[in-house]
Symmetry: C2
Subunit: 217 residues, 2 copies
Amino acid sequence: MATTRKSARTTPAAERPHPDATRRSQRSRQAIYAAALALVGEVGYPKTTIEGIAARAGVGKQTIYRWWSSKAEVLLEAFLDLGEQAVHAQGQEAPYAIPDTGDIAADLKAVLRATVDQLYDPRFEAPSRALAAEGLVNEQLGREFVAKLLEPSLQLHVDRLRAAQAAGQVRPEIDPRIALELFVSPLAQRWLQHTAPVSYAYTDTLVDYALHGLAPR
Amino acid sequence: MATTRKSARTTPAAERPHPDATRRSQRSRQAIYAAALALVGEVGYPKTTIEGIAARAGVGKQTIYRWWSSKAEVLLEAFLDLGEQAVHAQGQEAPYAIPDTGDIAADLKAVLRATVDQLYDPRFEAPSRALAAEGLVNEQLGREFVAKLLEPSLQLHVDRLRAAQAAGQVRPEIDPRIALELFVSPLAQRWLQHTAPVSYAYTDTLVDYALHGLAPR
């Protein structure tokens, strides 16, 4: 796809896609993403098929195969697109960044509250849960989604914790990739496994405990 | 079952189960547990059936229905039995207790290392993963297994953290049910979602970070 887009610049006018065609493509893509997310949430990953996605999106099967080679790829891009939409909906300019107000506690609390909102967003919850469930037993799919969706968002926490180390708010010997799990993983487990209720007060508490520790100071 | 066992005390000798019959029952139960765990690990929860468990265990379907009303119940007891076996294998007298040597850091590190061993035990890993996956999308099953298997083991951490509060090693205002998640949930997420490797060094680090916090002291 990257090659196609790049070469379009020098394509003679007669061969360029008509603006209406581009808009139609974009509409088809959005319809395919929506159909893929809805289906996987409703029937689970194993029963979601390219045929089913095409039928629900009102496009031909070949339209999907022209752009993607598997349902896993369609779903991966559908989730990436959903994440971008969520960022735009919050009016953020730079997608995928954790704010740096200079106060690490406040910034982590804000991002965890936004994560709570996203996890329990009805458009997101059922498909994410279905995909996470499949990722537990289908190790290849699980690793691909972790690498392409989860790990990039965790790296934003790494970046923010490194900035906090530079500012003297986090101890220099702390490994940020492990440290972030003290507040990210508890929320993930409560959401995934319904182990206990989730609230902003809960995620705020996680940040306070992680930063200040359980032992007396 | 509890009622049956209780009333056996006053059952006339002629009606009491013969010792050989009791041993056969026990052998059948163990065969059913093993078959249920193996099957759910191999084909997943949805495709595991009472018929399949009976065939693999070499017992009649009615033998299973005499003792349990659903495959979820069979699996729940199979996991409880597996946990008890693991405790006995470690030579512990009191099952399901976290040691209290007076050093909260050492005790939490020891219990997390033992948890790592259990999570990656081949008899345990595939069935646990299959069941966790089903629990994500089947909320009723998920909640039942959390209530009967996961939460009781988390309560042992609550008890140990309360003892540490009494000993002045954990701040009195800390909520132990949230605090335990700082080290339990990261390990659970790495194991469940393959987000990163697990080692004793990693779980030791989680305990140190959780107790002493990320911020400078």
